[in-house]
Subunit: 375 residues, 2 copies
């Protein structure tokens, strides 16, 4: 492999000896460096950092982020919010258009009523506003809401010009309009899409602010972000950013230019269990350890830094087939190898805990507290 | 949608009211029908049924399969074997080339020593045989092994003609050679590949048998299978089949012709949380509830039987974007819809439990006992 290619491939953590595979490993030294770098970048831009903890779902990693200057956390589900609140985290934004009916209304009310928790939630519809307002109608404090606007990602969020109309409705229903948020997920189309997506986030929030100001709301928060867009979107009027994956990195972040190759703190440790078929080795990490998340601009279902010529061409539930060109160095039967996943978020969600490393040694298993809390 | 297309699309279970989403639902009436059908088919062919329980990882569903004539279970990992043994299941085959070192050797020895458990494991290498033999060397009973042969799937397994050589080595190391096994996973390339893959399984086991006979081993078990190939591979010399997904079905099985549209017992219940972007609705089941498992011959990340014109084009962690042509019927904001997953196995592994239905009503939450036991 030439050095130009090497510079675009993750390095990842060094594995300690004696690991039982498949096993999720996260290097806290690299995590800490990533946390510091992002916090410094946001601080230099005068923008608040509210990391999305759906990436790791770990209370301890969220606390590490708060120690490094995060103002609070972002979550994607009420389940994640509950886990973070249980872990003592006080400032939680559910960046999702919560539909508050049935048991979800009850859970939302419970979270909003917790002492020491400041909850904010996303909205993008009139009906959603009514449901939220009903769910918290007897609360002594108004629930903070942020209006989601679509920056061209075509996922959720109203057109930015409609933010004001929703704000009027939310305010009338007794909710407290704190501002607007957006997510430029279209950055994940590829490296060439990142700068445009960041600009779209900034423009969407500027338009949302104008819409809010026209109906008399001065937004306290204008929140954008993803890990790839964070650096470029940290400009006025954006006041807050919500990157998640930056903390641990993955192949996708490196490919998008959002993580340096030595910024990847995560690996799945796997054992070579079969070399019976010519031209490949089979590892015990398959789709149930690595997922089938496969962006178009990445080759293979994971990357083996120690064996860069190998391509993880296929995965079945418990098998990963790593194909090698003739003559290329490959691991031996029984060898334990590190595999860098394509996308950290769904991979971490597959594990109950991870081996946490400091100074290249295991300091124990840390729980993935919010594992499977997808609702 | 015309009726020819409808006949190729799953129907799935009817959802009970009041479900909290995202939620995995399995209809036991459909499960029972599938269990009976497969058992009858295997019984008529004089072939033993040893279902692969990695699909559902549920002790109760495994017990249901045993009540319907299964001779034992197949698992893919020692973790699944431990869960099934804990659940009182006595005949367990680990259809995987187990690499028995470190803690895995200890766990294997423990399983093999359990009273009331008959354990068999797969092998496909000389080194693997030595490791296995070391792990159980002090056991009063020899460990049963089955030699894995490759039917052209190019995953694991030796060439069938080499089965005899491995058998001699295993026998010499004190293991008990019970026979050979194979898996025609190349059936999943598409409907046109199924018959060939089944024929490949039969041919591989016939060749393995000949190789074993030549060195003096009369195989007790010649085990093949996957859900798509089960029917066609239930012929001599095959003595046992290991289908898994047939029990619950999924979109892939319907597309491959392995499950009738009314044989799909599984759905993920999801709520429409956003309709803000024109031409689509967004549901609260994304990649962390449905995976990104997307065979080339299937459109979208899941199928909504009640809204067949919708295509689940994109998933992010907690969002599923269902796109509709203009004028097509679509669910309203807040509506709960059933989504049939593309591939049941990794989807079930994402949930701690499922809502079990009888007569269309919930009879409670059943645990996914082996969830995340991927090693």
């Amino acid at each position: 492999m030439n050095s130009a290619l090497a510079a675009t491939q993750p390095i990842g953590p060094a594995l300690p000896d004696g690991i039982e595979t498949p096993c999720l490993v996260i290097d806290l030294d690299i995590v800490e460096r990533n946390a510091e770098r992002m916090a410094a970048q946001m601080s230099a831009s005068g923008v608040a950092l509210r990391p999305h903890v759906k990436t790791h779902k770990s209370v301890r990693l969220a606390q590490l982020q708060l120690r490094h200057g995060a103002v609070g956390v972002t979550v994607g589900t009420l389940g994640e919010a509950e886990v973070m609140a249980d872990g003592g985290i006080g400032d939680i934004f559910v960046a999702y258009p919560v539909w508050a009916d049935g048991r979800r209304a009850y859970r939302l009310r419970g979270l909003h009523a917790r002492a020491g928790v400041r909850l904010s939630v996303g909205i993008d519809s009139l009906d959603g506003i009514r449901k939220l307002a009903e769910a918290v109608e007897d609360s002594p404090q108004a629930l903070r809401v942020l209006i989601e606007v679509d920056p061209g990602n075509r996922r959720t969020g109203v057109a930015p010009a409609h933010a004001g109309a929703l704000a009027v409705e939310a305010d009338g229903a007794g909710l407290r309009v704190a501002g607007a948020f957006t997510h430029g997920g279209h950055a994940y189309a590829g490296r060439q899409a990142v700068a445009g997506a960041a600009a779209d986030e900034v423009a969407a929030l500027a338009a949302a602010r104008d819409s809010l100001l026209r109906v008399g709301f001065e937004p306290e928060v204008l929140s954008a972000g993803s890990s790839p867009t964070a650096a470029a979107a940290a400009v006025a009027p954006v006041s807050e950013l919500r990157p998640g994956t930056y903390l641990v990195g993955d192949r996708q972040q490196v490919a998008l230019g959002a993580s340096p190759p030595d910024g990847v703190a995560i690996a799945v440790a796997a054992t070579v269990v079969s070399t019976a078929v010519h031209g490949q080795v089979v590892i015990d990490a398959g789709a149930k350890s690595l997922t089938k998340d496969l962006p178009a601009y990445i080759a293979g279902h994971g990357f083996l830094p120690a064996y860069p010529a190998g391509v993880l061409e296929r995965v079945s539930d418990y098998h990963g087939m790593v194909v090698f060109p003739d003559g290329a160095a490959r691991p031996a039967l029984g060898e334990v190898v590190a595999v860098i996943p394509n996308h950290a978020c769904p991979v971490i969600d597959l594990f109950e805990s991870f081996t946490a490393l400091r100074g290249g040694r295991s300091i124990g298993r840390w729980p993935v507290d919010g594992r499977g809390r997808s609702g």
